[in-house]
Symmetry: C2
Subunit: 128 residues, 2 copies
DNA sequence: TTGGTATTGAAATGCCATTATCAATAGAAA
DNA sequence: TTTCTATTGATAATGGCATTTCAATACCAA
C-alpha cells in the first residue's frame, strides 16, 4: 500500500505519461533518471508494478521484446513497430478490421489487434 | 553442418510439419517425444535452430510467451491466440487491412499483421 | 560388418530480466 | 523539529529459458 508521494515516483509517472508510446523498463528508467539522477532500477520495477495494479498503465508486449508499459488511455489505438530500433509507437486505430472468413469450429472471437511494421523517422534518417 | 539423418530429427520435423500451427519448444518436445520416447530437450533446441537457419521453419512470438516455431508456408496467414491456454492457431488472413488514416511524419510502412483473440474450442468445452 | 565421427541425452553452465533483502534515507503527521 | 516508518538503492538471490559440455550412442561410407 503506497502511502507516500516521492520524487522518484513522480519522475516515473511523468516519464510514462508524457511518452505517448509504450516504454520498456529500460526506457522508463532512462527517461525518469534524466529527471531524477540516481534512480534505481528496482524502484522502476516497483513503481511499474503498482501503476499496473492500479490500472494507470497497461502493458504491451511483442515478439521477443521485453514488455512495455503505456499510460492508460480510453481511446483505442494500434501500434507501429520499427524494424530497426524495435521501439513501439502509437497510431490511430483503423476503423474496423475484417473478421476472418473462416474460423475453426468452436472458436469464439473476443477481439483483434493490428500491428503495423516499418521504419520510424529517426531510423530512416540515420540510415541514409 | 548437419550431415546425418536421425530418428529424433525426423520426429521433430514431423511434429512441426503436421502441427499446422506454431509450436513452443515445449510443445515440439512433447509432440516429438510421443513419436520418439526419451528425446532430449537439448536436441529439440538444436534441431529448431538448424531448421530455423535453413528457413524451413519461422518463429513467431507474442506477449510474454516463449517463441513458437511453425513450418514455413508461402501462404500468408494470421494468428488466433486463445486467452485461456495461450496456444496460437493459424487462420486465414483477411483480404486486406486498412492502412491507418494518419501516420507519423517520416514513418515508412512495410507491412501489417492482424492478431485475433478469443477462446479455442477445447478451452470453451473445458470451462463449461 | 566395421570404424570414424556426427549426433544425442543429461546435467552443468550461462544469461539476464525480475524479485527479494536490508540498511540508509526521506516523506509527512504530530 | 522530531519521530515513525514507508520507500529507496545497491546488490544478492531467483527463476526461466537457452546453450555448452562430454561421454555414450548410432549413423553411414567403405
Amino acid at each position: 500500500m503506497r502511502s507516500r508521494q516521492t520524487r522518484q515516483l513522480e519522475a516515473i509517472e511523468h516519464a510514462l505519461r508524457s511518452a505517448g508510446r509504450p516504454l520498456a523498463i529500460a526506457e522508463v528508467h532512462a527517461a525518469a533518471a534524466a529527471e531524477f539522477p540516481g534512480l534505481g532500477i528496482a524502484t522502476v520495477y516497483r513503481a511499474v508494478k503498482t501503476l499496473s495494479d492500479d490500472g494507470k498503465i497497461v502493458s504491451v508486449a511483442y515478439a521477443g521484446q521485453p514488455p512495455r508499459y503505456e499510460w492508460a488511455v480510453a481511446q483505442h489505438h494500434s501500434h507501429f513497430i520499427c524494424h530497426t530500433c524495435k521501439r513501439v509507437f502509437d497510431i490511430e486505430a483503423p476503423e474496423s478490421v475484417p473478421l476472418p472468413k473462416r474460423k475453426p469450429r468452436g472458436f469464439v472471437f473476443s477481439g483483434d489487434e493490428v500491428i503495423y511494421y516499418g521504419t520510424c523517422a529517426e531510423c530512416r534518417a540515420a540510415q541514409k
